[in-house]
Symmetry: C2
Subunit: 339 residues, 2 copies
DNA sequence: CTGTTAGCGCGTTCAC
DNA sequence: GTGAACGCGCTAACAG
């Protein structure tokens, strides 16, 4: 293994000159810089990042804390796209990516310590569910963080939050379906998180603006990306005295499952009953009938998360909250009830 | 930031004693070990991994080189599941995961250097496509590597290859479809990689065992997880003098697309024409009709990759090639032609 | 412009 | 059983 010392000896200069040359220090004339770099190259020099990190106290790398459904993890349909776009952008800016083990989530300090020991410059927190104590501690720390989909009053001004325009998206979706004549829409909500609140607000607002009083019997609690409660919730809704003509599901994934469940009950999707999802998974376009849903821009979410983290690291301020545009995908899973 | 020096001072011992205590050295009596560790804990000590790595020359971490479709990256339907299972297992064994930037793939030495500079213990190579020169160099190096889905004669005995039983899976799939009376099956192959060769072999073998001579006009070249050539290939096949009754697609994703294309042409899937995929994406079960395909066990692939890499790191030998079981998912996208 | 030198935090050898 | 001291490879004063 060749070190800068070896290069210094070989090139007849001192180690600091080599160090400067490698770092493109302005103190050195370009000619020497170039010469030394070429020498290093041909000697097969490889910088020792551990040594640099030890010396400088930082490590030009960021961590990703995937805080999503245990069953999906990094293969989550939505978050994997965000992760990918984030990683690409960070790599382009010469940052390395660390996958942080969920193991370290056990307790608050362990996590923070494990991050500090890696000298990470920042952390991307993908929030499938609410923040735990340990994540809160991380956010409160001096390590720059970006939280995707996990806004919380407590943490604003301590981190940067990024989400889609959930409220607006749901408002638009609901409005579109109301325009098709539906008046009795049920909403199987996801868990009690920020994004859920936003979507419910958008949903209620659209109803009210159409002069419809939300019927509380049409709200039931489901789970995001979890099929276990789908059937049960459908059963509950369909057994109501006044069953809904359209059902909103927490996401596309559960809506896909609903296709099957409803069909087994003898319903024709988009004819006898209408169904809508959320997220806009690409595969939804292949379903028959195509799913009506709200598409989130995962690439943009990931890129924006990266750009925001880069800004945070370099001390540039941004709005604490960034909401990214979504758009309604109009499929055939919602029929028209107009005469 | 508290160091072992601080702990030593506070505890009235020397740094080496602290170092030993923290590393559970057998040289120390348990009592002192415990006492010092407790002190470290309450002082908020965080080990400096850079220093340890500098000192020991290794870094208890592995890299992942995602060498798959540019468009999908880590969000690839298949590889993201492998990645997730791999990461979980490695984390359980206290290894950290590094996402290696595809940027370093530019040239051979850059990659190797970047890996060496991180002191990685090993690398998982997810091969969506054929190895480039730079990856070959990595495999030939002394860094332990695991290659998923990228077997190649040149690299056997220099790395560990892991794949599904592609040949057997395709053999079973084909056999099942032959049993349904199909005699003219077309195969839109993926790119010219190892897994493709295997699948084609399984396909041909099944035909031959049924006394059918493969018709070369029924093989066309497509692309994995790439929709751009699907329509064109379907058109080619359907315009043959003797069009196929069943079409195999490179994967489920392209098969999903085919549903739409064929429907637009007026075909009813699983009635007028039969379709089969490969991979067994979960969402395929929600399509109507359900897709007949071969399911790969992504969790098992990921876990096996991790176990094999761990063995390789610790010097334990394994077979150079491990083929993991698959099974045919029998959907309704293939109809019976039996009388 | 360049060289000398002092650590960064830790593991480890060699004394005691 | 424990401590003193050296050095891993590098950066950044400081000195020339």
């Amino acid at each position: 293994m060749v070190t800068i010392k070896d290069i210094a000896r070989e090139g007849g200069v001192s180690v600091s000159t080599v160090s400067r040359a490698l770092a493109d220090s302005p103190l050195l004339p370009k000619s020497t810089s170039e010469k030394i770099k070429r020498l290093a190259e041909q000697m097969g020099y490889v910088k020792n990042e551990a040594a640099i990190s030890l010396k400088t106290g930082v490590s030009q790398s960021v961590g990703i804390l995937s805080f999503v459904d245990e069953a999906f993890g990094f293969s989550h349909y939505l978050f994997s796209g965000i992760l990918d776009a984030f990683a690409k952008r960070m790599n382009d800016c010469n940052y390395e990516i660390f996958l942080i083990s969920n193991k370290s989530l056990r307790d608050g300090d362990t996590l923070l310590r494990s991050l500090r020991s890696k000298k990470l410059c920042g952390v991307l927190i993908l929030c499938g569910y609410s923040q735990t104590e340990s994540v809160k501690k991380l956010i409160e720390s001096d390590i720059p963080t970006i939280v995707v989909d996990g806004f919380d009053e407590d943490i604003s001004e301590m981190t940067y939050c990024i989400s889609s325009e959930n409220r607006w998206g749901m408002y638009e979706l609901t409005s579109a379906i109301l325009r098709k004549g539906h008046r009795n829409i049920a909403y199987i909500c996801g868990e009690d998180y920020y994004v859920t609140h936003e979507r419910v607000r958008g949903f209620r607002q659209a109803l009210k603006e159409s002069g419809i009083e939300p019927n509380e019997a049409m709200f039931v609690r489901g789970k995001y990306y979890n099929l276990s409660t789908v059937k049960e919730n459908i059963d509950i809704l369909l057994s109501r005295p006044n069953p809904p003509t359209c059902i909103f599901f927490p996401d596309d994934y559960t809506a896909f499952e609903a296709y099957e469940i409803l069909r087994n009950k003898g319903y024709r999707i988009g004819e006898d009953i209408s169904v809508a999802g959320f997220d806009g998974l690409e595969l939804g376009a292949h379903l028959q009938p195509r799913l009506t849903t709200v598409r989130q821009n995962v690439k943009l979410l990931g890129r924006t998360a990266a750009d925001t983290l880069l800004d945070a690291i370099s001390g540039k301020k941004r709005p604490y909250m960034q909401l990214l545009p979504v758009h309604v995908l109009d499929g055939e899973s919602v029929c028209s009830l107009l005469p």
